[in-house]
């Protein structure tokens, strides 16, 4: 899976020497992207609803369900959500839904329920479905899973730049093994026996993304905002790249300057350029926008 490690420096980013894409995706004040890839386009659906967020961790479950249904229809081009779920999940699949339990901004239960409902619509019995985070290596459904659905909120993170869909698989292995260089090698997590080739859908929760940290690990609602969105794709890198751009744009608006993430979220660009997990460049992302468009930041 791994390609060649690149010795990127700040100068490479600025000069556009092989790192122009990385410069864009990691959040340095960057020149334009100019990547070359053999991969095809990645379709990413951004759907937003003005009324889905009522407050901190207060979401309208029926609107979440409606948004996810519309998103999968737009993503897979089928007549309805049931047909879409049937396209990606077989009745005999064992499905692990990789969630995120960070206490301040977990994957909302409303999103988890909407995904479970979709999997059930595909004919999977309840006993073959599990939602989990820290326990996934011990969870018997995850251990015998044949399909994974990946979902989490995007937030800034003091060691990896952002908590991303790519990073969300870190509980499938020993997390400290992936901490070097601001978690640059997170894409390796997608090539483990328990994950390889299993992911059928990624749902990046952008209902109330976090755009700034307090200290290394604290949280305050001052640094989230009611974006009211979901980003849905089969390509986790493309979904993360889009979410990252939204967070960067929010930081520009709030801080009044191009303030890079600390640290840079280069694991997203490297998931493309070094690991070939997906597309991080906007030139390879087919963005489908649905719903509320005001202040979409993209």
């Amino acid at each position: 899976m791994a390609k060649t490690r690149t010795a990127l420096s700040r100068r490479d980013f600025m000069k556009g020497v092989g790192g122009a894409l990385a410069g864009m995706a990691i959040g340095l004040p960057a020149s334009a992207s100019g990547r070359v890839t053999q991969a095809g386009m990645s379709r990413v659906v951004l759907i937003r609803d003005k009324n889905v967020v009522s407050g901190y961790r207060d979401y309208d479950g029926s609107l979440v369900q409606q948004m996810l249904d519309e998103a999968v229809v737009a993503l897979f081009g089928r007549d309805d959500a049931t047909a879409c779920w049937a396209q990606i999940i077989r009745p005999d699949d064992v499905v692990g839904i990789k969630s995120n339990g960070w206490p301040y901004l977990p994957t909302p239960p409303e999103v988890e329920r909407a995904i479970v409902r979709g999997v059930r619509q595909a004919g999977v019995p309840e006993e073959n479905i599990a939602v989990g985070d820290r326990d996934v290596r011990r969870n018997q459904v995850f251990r015998r899973s044949t399909a994974l659905i990946n979902t989490r909120p995007m937030r800034t993170h003091a060691w990896s730049g952002v908590g991303s869909l790519i990073k969300n698989y870190i509980m499938f292995d020993n997390p400290p093994d992936y901490h070097a260089d601001a978690c640059a090698s997170l894409a390796k997590l997608w090539d483990l026996p328990i994950t390889r080739g299993k992911t059928r859908l990624n749902v990046l929760v952008m209902l109330t993304p976090q755009f700034h940290n307090i200290g290394p690990h604290h949280f305050d609602t001052d640094y989230i905002w009611p974006y009211g969105g979901l980003i849905v794709s089969t390509d986790p890198v493309a979904a993360d790249a889009l979410g990252l751009r939204i967070i960067q744009q929010k930081r520009r608006l709030v801080f009044g300057e191009d303030r890079p993430l600390q640290p840079t979220a280069h694991h997203i660009a490297l998931a493309d350029t070094e690991y070939g997990l997906g597309n991080a460049g906007m030139d390879k992302i087919e963005l489908v926008r649905l719903g509320w468009q005001e202040d979409n930041l993209i």
Partner: protein, 275 residues
């Protein structure tokens, strides 16, 4: 004195409600996930976490980090500091429902479960009461005192040790071109005009410093740029030098002259080499 002794059952009107839980360098990830690496990048030993309650006041979680030494307590405090107030410990910052300060080898955060006017008042009160119980050292690391004052942006100083920390504050390179390690002390600060950075690194020996500067030349500069001041991108200049155990790098200066002036100012603040 044990860390627990700084957090007694009663502090003023607050009462400890939960048994304290402690996490060390190995178990910190159980509490803080990957961001625990920030603490591990210093000489962090353990953090004790507990909750204080008081009548008609929000519950307050107290985290008392033993950072191993005062310089590293300052370092983790400076890591994400945007502002700093005086009056609690060596300095404190209150953002939202969280207040953090450093004092001696301890970094302390008090966090209200809810944000309110009452919590805004309670946080400094409880933090101040804890500070009174800690050892009293509040001098910043010696290296921070070596930074030139003129043009330095207030609260921009960051003290750290590792390559990963440098890249957090200023993304220099993926490779560890300056040979930073737990054995090196480093301070980075921002200077005006513009957004110029001054990096000062102290190595264990002059030989180590010379080797690090050579590594920096090889890893970051091009062959023709090995000496003097370099225009690293349009309108941004880099200058660097080594004096005894110290390597100084000026980054993103607005002119060649500005880069050299700041470099010379930093060199002038260094202690004289041993005779």
């Amino acid at each position: 004195m044990a860390v627990y002794d700084f957090l007694p059952e009663h502090i003023n009107t607050w009462t400890r409600s939960d048994p304290a839980v402690a996490y060390d360098r190995e178990t910190i990830f159980d509490y803080i996930d990957g961001a625990g690496e920030v603490y591990r990048s210093f000489a962090f030993r353990e953090v004790v976490v507990l909750v204080y309650t008081a009548q008609e006041a929000p519950d307050i979680t107290v985290e008392l980090f033993d950072m191993g030494n005062p310089a590293d307590a300052y370092g983790v405090f400076s890591y994400t500091r945007e502002r700093e107030e005086t009056g609690i410990g060596g300095g404190y910052e209150q953002k939202g429902r969280v207040l953090c300060f450093w004092q001696d080898r301890y970094y302390v955060c008090v966090a209200s479960k809810e944000r309110s006017d009452r919590s805004d008042r309670a946080l400094p009160e409880l933090a101040g009461a804890i500070a009174e119980r800690l050892p009293t050292a509040t001098d910043p690391p010696e290296l921070v005192g070596m930074l030139p004052d003129e043009g330095r942006v207030q609260f921009s100083e960051r003290f750290f040790h590792l390559h990963q920390s440098l890249n957090y504050h200023y993304y220099l390179a993926r490779e560890n071109v300056l040979d930073l390690s737990s054995e090196t002390d480093a301070v980075l600060a921002r200077y005006a005009p513009g957004s110029t950075y001054l990096l000062l690194v102290r190595y264990a020996s002059a030989d180590d410093a010379a080797a690090a500067r050579a590594s920096f030349r090889r890893g970051y500069l091009r062959d023709t740029e090995a000496a003097g001041t370099v225009e690293t991108e349009a309108g941004k200049f880099l200058s660097h030098s080594q004096r005894d155990r110290y390597v100084i790098v000026v980054l993103d200066a607005e002119s060649e002259r500005a880069a050299v002036d700041l470099l010379r100012a930093a060199e002038g603040r260094l202690p004289p080499p041993p005779q």
